[in-house]
């Protein structure tokens, strides 16, 4: 991996009172290299979106975070909202799932671009702003003839293209895209993913792509991190992880993905836990087909594997930390069929 453009170290994001905090992101570390496309996957409620927002300092009221988000030699955790706003845009961009709710219906597309550029690059001339906007929109497939139109005059896919262009016009070093294609049809989804896959070449921008769809990760990402119950339980190159998932959760996620090549339906029993009172030990143990006794007792220790991979699972040791008898299969009650997400 090239030099990281962003380093996340032991980031925690929690909601609620200090007494019973909901730890939506719990001790997460992650590097994103320059121009790299990193996929962040997991079921709903695993903390993917919270991590994405935590990185950008865009947490909702009442959420608190500690740890480090290192960007350009600075720790973004603890920066004032004003300082964060200055970084957001020119350095760190964000694309949301629902493009319509992020565009102002009363402003023309041209106004959206002008406001953004004026705020972050006040030195630009009108002509320069216009040229940059049209160019960026054009690369996203929006013709200059539609520059003066209003958001409602565009289809869903075009709005998402506009949102991406609006983030890219500032040439950010990193773009966080949270389920950017979830509300789109499959062909339009493919068009948008092709655009995102070319970010590196066209804009030199790194991408953190948050999605629940492993097919998208396989096709678009260089590296992937799998999140479960607030933790990154596995990370590695997409090629390695798909070829040989190290964590049973990753493997189960892969097996339950329905694609044209799927030959048999599979699902993961149960649902991600409530983070107010997560299971003891490994948080996945109640749903894990390979759970051992130690998994219910002790939190797994992160293990570094070959090729820059890491995993948090007792199956990968360290053996010296497993108490005697801990590797025996875990006996437990059956999970009700409907106890699911």
């Amino acid at each position: 991996m090239s030099d990281p453009v962003l380093r996340v170290r032991r980031l925690r994001v929690y909601y609620g009172t200090p007494g019973r905090p909901v730890r939506a992101v719990d001790d997460v570390s992650l590097d994103i290299g320059e121009g790299e496309v990193v996929g962040l996957v997991g079921e709903s409620g695993c903390g993917k979106s919270t991590l994405g927002r935590g990185i950008l300092g865009l947490l909702p009221e009442g959420a608190r975070s500690d740890g480090e988000v290192l960007y350009g030699g600075r720790n973004l955790v603890g920066l004032s909202p004003k300082e964060l706003r200055r970084l957001r845009g020119p350095d760190l961009g964000l694309v949301f799932q629902e493009p319509m709710t992020r565009l102002n219906p009363l402003l023309r597309i041209s106004d959206h671009f002008r406001e953004t550029l004026k705020q972050h690059e006040p030195g630009l001339s009108d002509e320069e702003m216009r040229r940059r906007s049209l160019e960026t929109l054009g690369r996203m497939g929006i013709p200059p003839t539609r520059f003066r139109q209003y958001p409602h005059e565009f289809s869903g896919g075009m709005r998402q293209r506009i949102m991406i262009a609006l983030a890219l016009v500032l040439r950010p070093k990193l773009l966080v895209a949270d389920e950017p294609t979830t509300s789109l049809d499959v062909i339009v989804e493919g068009q948008i993913l092709a655009l995102l896959a070319d970010l590196k070449r066209n804009f030199g921008t790194a991408l953190l792509l948050i999605t629940h769809n492993l097919g998208i990760v396989a096709e678009s990402c260089d590296r992937m991190a799998v999140m479960y119950a607030g933790r990154i339980v596995e990370e590695g190159s997409v090629r390695d992880v798909f070829a040989e998932p190290s964590h049973p959760y990753t493997r189960e996620l892969l097996r339950s993905t329905i694609s044209l090549e799927t030959t048999e339906l599979h699902s993961i029993p149960g649902a991600p836990p409530n983070l107010i009172a997560p299971p003891t030990g490994c948080r996945f143990h109640p749903r894990c087909p390979e759970a051992m006794r130690v998994c219910a007792l002790l939190e797994p220790v992160e293990q570094q594997l070959e090729a820059g991979r890491r995993v948090q699972c007792w199956l990968h040791g360290p053996e010296r930390r497993i108490p005697s008898g801990g590797e025996l299969p875990l006996e437990r009650e059956a999970i009700w069929v409907a106890d699911e997400a």
Partner: protein, 441 residues
């Protein structure tokens, strides 16, 4: 819980006659356009949501109705259920014409055809307990008044959909349930009336991947246990593959391909079907994001393209497919998008002038030269564009380009609307297959 009296074996209609038979169905919506266009008095439009669809749903089968948003698939389902009035054509259910039934008569019919919608969160009243919500249809149809009897029947159906033990769910509110559990409750509510037909409109697309398989398997098990017939409406050909016996692909109000699921997946014929299949992301890192997907999105059904509705996006479109003035606008705009910000673009825009003049459903373009420009310059621009990308399907549709009396004249080939015709095991509505010998007929 299924009374013996429903669909007896001696039913004369059970002899292989389809459960549902739809013929030339049309469902149009009148629209008034945008607020602004109403203000300036623009004429009202008509959305041809379903525009001449014929299909059968056979007893006991799962028919997949697949298409993108705007294809009309949901409207077709709603018309079948009598939730939307048909504009024309016929819908026969169990041999009886139902498309023009008064609402009162339709209501009793709805016991036999039930629906599961996409959003389980919106399908359940948050103020009703699960017992109330699922028992409600029985009360509405006057089938069960006794409180204990009602609770018993609800408990029974809850367990059938996997919400067991039922006591743990009966008095819960929808807000206490997960998405998958809610969808099970919605399915239970549909089943409690003992329907023969279940219309399932994207029943799993709002659910997590890890849950989808469970709901699909549940629906397949219920189909066996209750002798159900399904119309499965979806945009997702991957889940449909597991679920459907036959597939109908819909695009802008028309069925463009229909046939046995295996044939559709193994040998898709319509370029649209092929595109839908190619666009599905595969969990295989060897595969890259496909770059050759159709451009653009499903166009406005109020003004569908001429000829084959798919032609503006089709990589294989040729002479008869319905080329028209609007396609020239599209061609120019995508060219200008690619080169946006470069010097020549504004020059070209000035030369062509008002693109609004091209915004017509017509196989002829008559474009007066902009002020200070000549029609010859415009014709030369088009020649240049053609030379740069001669393989662009658009040019196959062009019959003549000429500068005449100070205006650009461009004629396309005569548009021909394709018709659904047999091709091998399937039927396909595409000019590419019209020359093929049909088997049988």
């Amino acid at each position: 819980m299924r009374p013996e009296t429903v669909a007896p074996v001696s039913d004369p209609r059970a002899d292989g006659a389809p459960l549902v038979s739809i013929r030339d169905l049309k469902t149009y919506y009148a629209i008034r356009g945008s607020f602004a266009s109403r203000l300036v008095g623009h004429e009202a439009g008509v959305v041809h949501a379903v525009d001449g669809v014929s299909l059968d749903i056979r007893r006991g089968e799962v028919l997949g109705l697949v298409g993108e948003s705007g294809s009309g698939k949901t409207t077709l389902g709603r018309t079948l259920l009598g939730l939307v009035r048909a504009t024309g054509g016929s819908v026969e259910f169990e041999g009886r014409e139902i498309s023009r039934l008064p609402e009162r008569e339709f209501r009793s019919l709805r016991r036999r055809m039930q629906v599961v919608f996409q959003d389980p969160h919106a399908s359940l009243n948050p103020a009703m307990t699960i017992a109330q919500a699922i028992g409600h249809p029985l009360q509405i149809h006057g089938l069960e008044h006794d409180r204990d009897g009602l609770r018993l029947r609800v408990a029974e159906v809850l367990e059938r959909v996997g919400l067991a033990p039922a006591e743990a769910y009966l008095d819960k509110y929808p807000g206490d349930l997960s998405g998958g559990q809610k969808q099970r409750a919605v399915i239970a509510r549909a089943l409690i009336l003992d329907p023969v037909l279940l219309v399932a409109d994207e029943p799993v697309s709002m659910l997590d991947m890890s849950v989808r398989a469970k709901i699909l398997e549940l629906m397949l098990a219920l189909k066996r246990d209750f002798d159900l017939t399904y119309l499965y409406i979806t945009h997702d050909l991957a889940t449909a593959r597991f679920f459907c016996d036959r597939i109908a692909i819909m695009y802008l109000g028309r069925i463009v391909e229909i046939g046995p699921a295996a044939a559709i997946y193994d040998d898709p014929k319509h370029p649209y079907t092929r595109a839908l299949l190619r666009a599905i992301p595969e969990p295989d890192p060897q595969r890259a994001v496909p770059r050759d997907l159709p451009r653009g999105e499903v166009p406005d059904a109020a003004r569908p393209p001429l000829g084959c509705h798919f032609h503006p996006r089709c990589p294989r479109a040729f002479e008869p497919c319905g080329w028209e003035s609007r396609d020239l606008r599209e061609l120019l705009e995508s060219r200008w998008a690619l080169a946006a910000g470069q010097a020549g673009v504004e020059e070209e825009q000035a030369l062509v002038g008002d693109l609004g003049a091209l915004d017509r459903s017509s196989a002829e373009v008559r474009l007066p030269a902009s002020r200070g420009r000549s029609a010859d310059e415009m014709a030369a621009l088009l020649d240049r564009i053609r030379d740069e990308a001669p393989d662009e399907p658009f040019w196959r549709g062009v019959r003549r380009i000429e500068a005449v009396d100070g205006r650009l004249e461009l004629d396309f080939h005569e548009p021909e609307a394709p018709l659904l015709a047999p091709s091998g095991e399937v039927e396909v509505e595409c000019h590419l297959y019209r020359g093929e010998p049909s088997d049988g007929s």
